[in-house]
Structures are given as C-alpha cells and as structure tokens.
C-alpha cells in the first residue's frame, strides 16, 4: 500500500518543491538588492498581462512541450535522454534544409515536410546513442551528452561552410522563402474574431505541440507498444521474460524521443527565426528535463509545466528589460526548480509521507 494518496504524489509534492524553489529565488533577488514581490508582479504582468506577453509565453512553452515530451517518452523506457539539445539542434538543420530545398507552394505543405525533416534529423541523432546503449551497453547519458557537443559542431560546420549565403559574414542560413512562413496565433485567432498581438512569435506550431501531447498519451497508455515500453521501463527483466525485446524498446523509444526534440525546430526555426542560426535551441533541451520532472512524465503535466517555464522565460525577459536584474535570473530559478523537484524530491516527499502515515495511524487508533 502506498504511503500517501495519489493526489499528494502528483500535486502536493511538486507544488511544495516549486514553492521551496520560489522562496530561495526570492532570497536570491533580495540578495542582489531587488524587491522579489515587485519582480514577481512584473513577471506575471509581462507574461500573462497582455496578448503580447501570452504570445511569447506560449512560444517558449511550445519549445518546452516538445523537449519535455521527448524526455518523458525516454524516461518511461528508463532511458535518461539528456541529448534533446543536440537532437533539437539537428532538427533545426533538417527543418532548414527542407525549407530551403524547394519553392513550397503553400505553408501547409511546407509545414508537413518540415515536420518530417525535423523529426527525421532529430531521430537520426538519437539513433546511434540508442543503438550503442541497446547493443554495446554504452551509458546513454554520456553518449547523448557527447552527441550534444558533436551536434553543435556539425551545425557550426554547416552554417559556416555550407549554408551561409554568398557574401554574408554571419554564421546563419539564408532566410526561408515567404511561402514557408507559418501563420502566427494572431492570424489564426483573427479567423474566429479574437484579437491577438501581431508581433508575438507564438504560431501554429503550438497547436502541433498540443496534438503531440495527445498522440504521446495515446501511444503510451493506449497502444500495445506503449504498454511494452512502460513495462520495460519498470522492470527490464520482467519485460524480457514477457518476450519484449529490449533492443526494440530502447531504439524505438529513443527514436520517438529524438523525433519529438527535432520537431521543436518547427517552432523556433521555421515559426520564429525563419532562418537557421547558431545556438537556436538556447538550452530548451535541458529545460525539457525539468518540464518532464515537474509534469511527472505525463503529457498533461508536461503541458502545464511547459507553460510554467514559458512564464519564467518571458517574465525573466521582461525583468531584464525593465529592471537591473539580469536575464540570468531565469537560469538560477530553472536550476533551483530542477534541484528541488528532481534531485531533492525525497527531501519533500519523506516528511509528507510521514505525515500521511501518522494521520492514518491516528485514524485507525480512533476507530
């Protein structure tokens, strides 16, 4: 019997962890001589106070949904995919190559092709670490970290030596043709008569991310393969005994994970930048780890956690704009959230478990 009810495990523990991270963040803000309450108000105002703020919050959230789902899928198969960063980098390359390859007639066609390109490149970048883990027993964490760095080098090489337009000094690809530009949330919501900020970068990729959430949920909890994947993640030996092939699970789970990471590029490369630049991922791959942890590896949780981190990102940018607090505050808060919700989980969990056990004992004694 579990020590505590399910709702406490799913909601109470992460919320208390989050609260602790926030308290320490507030102390950090106090420490550098600023007012944490004013900072929080500014962050909320800047990220949810206008459709412009919402547009940025949802744009960042879209990135984090993809990388969060990527980490969650791998996690269910007991694979620690720390390589989203590299897979999303390569996904960007795939999207850019597709966008620049043909004169696409319409953005819908371009979007489908770019999604295929991004997912394919992302999955390809996850394949070798997965295969090495399954067949040669190489530690997936180390190989995916190494592939992050190799991926950056590949992108650097491609941008400097291959994709850079003639005469440009900037290590970036050419601008994508106009026919590949994705409609923003402004354009979509205008169809149903809702006014939305024209300049914010949130775009149709957000809807793609929502669909991805549903599909991942269906895959994990409503298909035979999803069952096998989760069974393998819970106990490898039991799964093998039930006739599940470890190689198949590891490789396919990592391919899906890498593909989801690669899909992120549809949002940041195709939807926003509309060209490929160096470091376009900006750490979203690592934030995916935090998002999946907070969201307890469930698509719905990932969605909510991604919006939370989108708020942190947009709020942090507003802080840097209007106060003397540098943008790096977000990185600190991010680190604290990962530390408390992930690594120090037991610090919060153990006292809560003890509390529920104590209450149950009291209830039994009272009968």
């Amino acid at each position: 019997m579990d020590a505590m009810p399910k709702w406490a495990d799913m909601l109470l523990v992460p919320l208390i962890s989050l609260l602790l991270a926030m308290v320490i963040s507030a102390l950090v803000i106090l420490g550098i001589g600023e007012d944490p309450w004013a900072a929080l108000k500014l962050m909320v105002q800047g990220s949810f106070g206008s459709t412009y703020g919402w547009g940025y919050t949802l744009f960042y959230a879209t990135n984090f949904i993809f990388t969060g789902l990527a980490f969650a899928v791998a996690s269910h198969a007991a694979m620690f995919n720390i390589g989203s960063e590299g897979q999303a980098t390569l996904g960007g390359l795939g999207v850019a190559l597709v966008c620049l390859a043909l004169p696409w007639p319409h953005w819908t066609v371009a979007l489908v092709a770019a999604m295929a390109g991004g997912a394919l490149f992302g999955a390809a970048w996850a394949f070798l670490p997965a295969w090495l883990a399954a067949r040669r027993g190489s530690h997936i964490v180390i190989t995916t970290i190494m592939f992050n760095f190799i991926g950056l080098a590949v992108l650097n090489y491609m941008l400097v030596n291959v994709m850079r337009p003639e005469g440009s000094m900037d290590p970036a690809s050419a601008k994508f043709p106009d026919s590949t530009n994705l409609p923003s949330l402004h354009d979509i919501l205008a169809l149903v008569g809702i006014p939305f900020s024209k300049t914010a970068p949130a775009n149709v990729a957000f809807l793609v991310a929502l669909v991805a959430c549903v599909l991942v949920w269906l895959l994990l909890w409503r298909t035979r393969f999803g069952f096998e994947l989760r069974a393998f993640g819970k106990s490898e030996s039991a799964a093998v005994y039930a006739g599940i092939s470890p190689t198949k699970i590891i490789v396919v789970a990592m391919l899906i994970s890498g593909g989801l990471s690669g899909l992120m590029a549809v949002n940041n490369v195709m939807g926003e930048a509309e060209r490929l630049v160096l470091n376009s991922v900006e750490g979203a791959g690592f934030i995916g780890i935090a998002v999946a942890l907070m969201g307890r590896n469930h698509p719905l949780g990932v969605l909510l956690a991604a919006i939370l981190f989108g708020f942190l990102y947009q709020g942090g940018a507003e802080l840097a704009l209007w106060t003397s607090i540098p943008r790096e505050l977000i990185v600190v808060i991010q680190g604290l959230v990962i530390l408390f919700t992930g690594a120090l989980d037991n610090m919060v969990r153990m006292p809560i478990e003890r509390f529920f056990l104590w209450r149950r004992r009291n209830a039994q004694a009272g009968e």
């Binding site: 950090v28 420490g31 550098i32 001589g33 620690f80 720390i82 070798l128 090495l132 040669r136 027993g137 190489s138 530690h139 964490v141 180390i142 190989t143 970290i145 190494m146 592939f147 760095f149 190799i150 950056l152 080098a153 590949v154 650097n156 090489y157 400097v160 030596n161 690592f286 780890i289 942890l293 003397s324 540098p326 790096e328 505050l329 977000i330 990185v331 600190v332 808060i333 991010q334 680190g335 604290l336 990962i338 530390l339 992930g342 690594a343 120090l344 989980d345 037991n346 610090m347 153990m350």
Partner: protein, 337 residues
Amino acid sequence: MDTFSTLIQVLDSTLRLATPLLLACLAGLFSERSGIFDIGLEAKMLVSAFFSAAFAYTTGSVWIGLMAGVAASIVFAGIHGIASITFRGNQLISGVALNFLASGMTVLIAQSWFHQGGRTPSLMGGARFEGVELPFAIGPTEAAETGRPLNPLIAEAGPLQQLYSELISGHSILVYIALLAVPATWWVLYRTRFGLRLRAVGENPAAVDTAGISVVGLRYSSMIIVGVLCGLAGAYLATGLQAGFVKDMTAGRGYIALAALIFAKWRPWHALGACLLFGLLQALALRTDVVEALFPFKMPVQLLDSMPYILTVVILAGFVGKAIPPRAGGQPYVKER
C-alpha cells in the same frame, strides 16, 4: 619560425590547456570511484572560477582568491552530496540542476558586485598566478638582467634549454600541482586504506557497510576531494590561464573532463594521458597555421573541436577495449528496507 620552436609552443599550450581538464578529471575519478556520478564538474569549476577571480580582485591576493574558489566549489559538491547521498535523489538530475545554478548565479552575483555585464574586472599583478621560474631556466629574471625581451633569449639557447625553459619551466604553480595530483591520486586510491574503501564503496557499498565502515562518510569525503580539485581547476581558469571571470568561461571543460575520465577508464595515469591528448586537440584548434601544415587536406576546425567527444563515443562503443564504469555508480545506497 622553425618547426622545433613551433612544436614546443604547441606542447606548452597543450600543458596549460590540459591542466583544468586534468584537475576536473581527477575530481570526477574520485567521485565516480565512490559511486557518485557527477555531471556537475562544470558547475563546480565555474563557481570556483568566479569566486577566485572576485576575491583575488577585491583583496589583491590570488591565494585568498584560490581559497574562496575552493570553498565555493566545496559548497556545490556538498549540495550534490546532500541530494545524492542523504536524500538519495537522482545524481544526474542534481548535476544538471547545479550546472544551471552555477551558470546563472555567477553572472547574477558578478553583475550586482562589479556592474560590468556579468564579468569581473581584469586581474593584474598579485591577483593572478604568475609563472614559476624553475632553477637554471631562462625566464623573466634573465630577460630583466640582459634588458632584452624573453622570446629571442630563449630562441638563441640550445634545444634542451629551449625545451626546459619554454615547456617545463614558467607555468603557474597550479600546473605543477595538477601534475603532482596524478601520482597522489594513484597513491591514495591504490596504496591507502581510504583508497581501498573508496574503490570498494563504488563497486559494492553493501559489502563496505557490512564491514562496519560508513558508506555515507566515505562518499561525503570523496565529495570534499571533488570540491577541492574542481576548485583548483576553476581557480586556474580564471586566475592562471586567463585574467578574470567571464560568463560561462568553463565552456564545456567539465564535460570534456568527463569524456577524458571514460577515455582513461577511471584510472589516474591514463587520465593524465587522456587529458594531455584532449589538451593537445584544444591547442591545435587554436593554431590553424599548424593544422594546415600538418594535414594535406583542409581539416575543419569543428572536427578538431569535437574530436574528444567522438573519441569518447568510440571508446564507449566498446570496439577498442571496453570501458566498464564502477558497478554501483549512480545508485543511491539504502542501508535497510
């Protein structure tokens, strides 16, 4: 410029670039040998780099800076210990979190302390580690005596003297400490009781516990050693190799050190070899003229940069000897159920 002096220059910068890798790699070795994965080497180097530079600048003494850097690094190692030993959390996640924390915190504090866009002011004089002049070497003293610049003086000397003065002499004290740390690590791990227990706790903590030795105590002491070594590495970056702290100045060195650790298969002498190799690759990446002369085809600098990672994947693939990590690595130890 003749080939010989170019070679010596490249080797000289190899040694300097290998030093932070070596210190961090040995730190990782202590950590992983005691059964704690540490992907947060980067974080500890970074906080140490910042605090050593900040204190060295404020006090004017590089030694006070060094102590501050090591102390900050030990604090971070302690947090990793609390998360992964006491609360039995996921060691990888703790490492990721600490990397973020260090990257953001250093810039945040630097900005509110020095107001120079997240960096420390440049260090000068006693706030930096100067080169140590070994006996009989041609160094700044000789240059001052003869009133001539140093470089031609060395170039005129015999090849052996050139080798000695340029490559072996004239480094900061931390370079020599790093080199001495290799035999010291070997001795501690393989010739002391503490080392035997440390290796045992990374392989089979239950057996160590049964023998009446504290698993928690051993693992925390390895965390302190990690803190000290990473602290030295970070301080060398900010006060020896460069003059001051800049944002994210470790630039992935913590991960290269991790790669070197696997390349060395968790052994101290091999770690020296691996770090020198990766240092050489970094040194070559800085000298494009040498690379062009060495290779008949055009070698992309990105390939050189990513060579340590590629080599590590090849080693991990197990086609060139198998890299087997300590058996209990990454698993928290639960005394009783």
